[in-house]
Assembly symmetry: C2
Homo-oligomer: 361 residues x 2
């Protein structure tokens, strides 16, 4: 039996790879617990560094900077899933990296991810491995049209994917994703996307928040609403699926698991992100322990917090110039406004979010 | 009619005098709104500097450091009431200081404070000005015994005060407070202390949170509980008193107003603090806009948030080695744990707090 490491004492330092708004909210959650945060980011004056105890501004392949970072922190985590393998491996020689390399490897590769889910008996969209144009044609014959061709790696918010409506569009699609290793996915007949924010502690305890119902605009999350509106049995099944995923990966930290709900209530997992998730921001206001604190508790070896929700909530992202409405949002009674400290409101950029609470059903 | 200044845009910097846990929680609240914080503190590695964008470590009479600080920030506020007059005056030459000099002057002097309250027709304990030992004897003849002799300035958490049980203890009491200008206060027959966290915005809007019932141990706040358990009429009167105080001072920011509740439900104001207040920490979990965010909204010229409470709450301070129980507290379902990043758990030192929510009555 493995010896359970002692939790990191208050005053310990958690290193975070990535300096965006997720890192910012992680740092703020850690501070509440008396834990320090050291941000590692290629970008200076990033949102997370503004609120952290310390920051290193260096590239992810800067071995000297990584070594110094590893020496300065007690554990390393990350706020984005595309951490380079070599970066994680180098850090792991000196300091625990949580979630671990296995979770990163599976989550970074859509084919690995779907294959892993299938191995657990969890429903996914039909999918096929695509290595080249002939493979794509074979996959189209198997999966049918319409379908969607996605690069195996480094896709997010609708990037790195193209819809194929007819088999004769295969070559154009293959060119559009720059002839990279890919996966062809069939479409799922669904009426909504929900997501479950789930955590697993170092001691193996798992805790899932209530599912949120998500709406997207332009492939970017627009709103997350809890409760989801689905029956208790569907919500319980969603939590169970998410718990099975983190248990099977021996995961440590918070994960966001996205699922489609079929018209008959069946659940199909779309993808999971090995990090805190935009669809879990509502937990800041609606739960005593937010997803951000939960993640920092897990990576620090602390007990998980109860994922209990004391209110209904709707989270709305502020994308691009929507954040210019801050004065009106600040004046709205009961609106919890969050702005991420980003200077430039470029189109499509997540600038902040608002959470509105209502009494629990 | 005065022109209302524009609110500080996100990205602006709020300077905070003082680097303790109140400054820490102010900085975290500002960060949520995309506002930056610059801490000014004589103590390096103070709790607030750990989470702020910038920090200046210098004494409050260091004119060069103060000038540089004023030049680096858009507005100045403070987390403790004993800001030296000269410090505030020097800063105010270059940058708005909120709350203003008037509030500081009144709140720093117990005699001014009580005289001001009396001028508003707000009930206080009986009190008399004490300038010397003869004055103390005259005051004792007027107020009677038991009574309490307090220095006019720089008292908190029971410091700078001594109880007088019989007139022949006058000289000893006078010596005990080092023969400083003082106030003699009569005792009030009360069954509980409550406090109201109230805010006034730059536009004159006022907003009071629900009163908390406070319990002390060794002259230090132990717990704050909302609702207070008093009838609606008493709670409404308490909020009204607090609102009148901030209105009369043309105050900008959050104030904590402490009151005694007589057995017949009458309210007597004990004192007020021109800053966020320990008895308002419960607002972090139980309200969408906490007292800390409310204060930063006010000093930045933003609209006040609604002081609505969505849950019942009990806040318990962690004093000295009570914070050593962090592992058990972290494991307690529903407990919101806050640790302040202080290294040394000296007896009597506020190391953190816990807030426990329950469904709203």
């Amino acid at each position: 039996m493995a010896i359970m490491p002692a939790p990191l004492a208050p005053g310990s330092t958690i290193g975070v790879l990535g300096g965006g708004q997720l890192g910012r909210m992680l740092a703020m959650a850690a501070a509440r617990l008396g834990l320090k945060t050291h941000i590692y980011s290629p970008e200076t004056d990033c949102p997370a560094a503004q609120v952290a105890d310390a920051a290193t501004f260096a590239d992810y392949d800067d071995e000297d900077a990584l070594a110094a970072f590893a020496a300065a922190v007690d554990v390393v985590t990350y706020e984005f899933e595309n951490v380079p393998d070599a970066t994680a491996a180098l850090l792991a020689e000196d300091v625990p990296v949580r979630p671990g390399a296995n979770a990163l490897a599976v989550a970074q590769d859509r084919l690995e991810e779907k294959t892993f889910l299938r191995s657990l008996g969890i429903a996914t969209a039909p999918f096929a491995d695509v290595q080249n144009i002939d493979g794509l044609k074979a996959a189209l014959a198997e999966i049918g049209c319409p379908s969607i061709l996605k690069t195996r790696r480094f896709g997010y918010d609708g990037k790195g994917q193209v819809r194929i409506n007819t088999p004769d569009a295969a070559q154009a699609a293959w060119d559009a994703i720059n002839a990279q290793p890919a996966i062809l996915e069939g479409f799922v007949d669904f009426e909504a996307e929900i997501s479950v924010i789930v955590a697993r502690g170092l001691d193996g305890t798992v805790a899932a928040y209530d599912p949120a119902r998500n709406a997207h605009e332009n492939h970017i999350l627009a709103t997350s609403t809890v409760p989801s509106g689905y029956p208790d049995a569907v919500e319980a099944e969603a939590r169970t699926i998410a718990e099975r995923v983190v248990a099977a990966l021996e995961y440590v930290g918070v994960m966001g698991v996205e699922m489609f709900v079929s018209p008959n209530g069946a659940l199909v997992v779309n993808e999971f992100a090995p990090r805190v998730h935009n669809s879990g921001h509502w937990t800041i206001e609606a739960c005593v322990v937010s997803q951000f604190e939960q993640h920092m508790r897990a990576v620090a070896g602390w007990p998980l917090g109860a994922p209990t929700r004391h209110a209904n909530a709707e989270m709305t992202n502020l994308i691009g110039d929507e954040a210019n409405d801050w004065q009106a949002l600040a004046a709205e009674p009961g609106a919890g406004l969050h702005l991420y400290g980003k200077g430039d409101a470029r189109p499509g950029r997540k600038m902040g979010h608002v959470t509105r609470l209502s009494p629990r059903d």
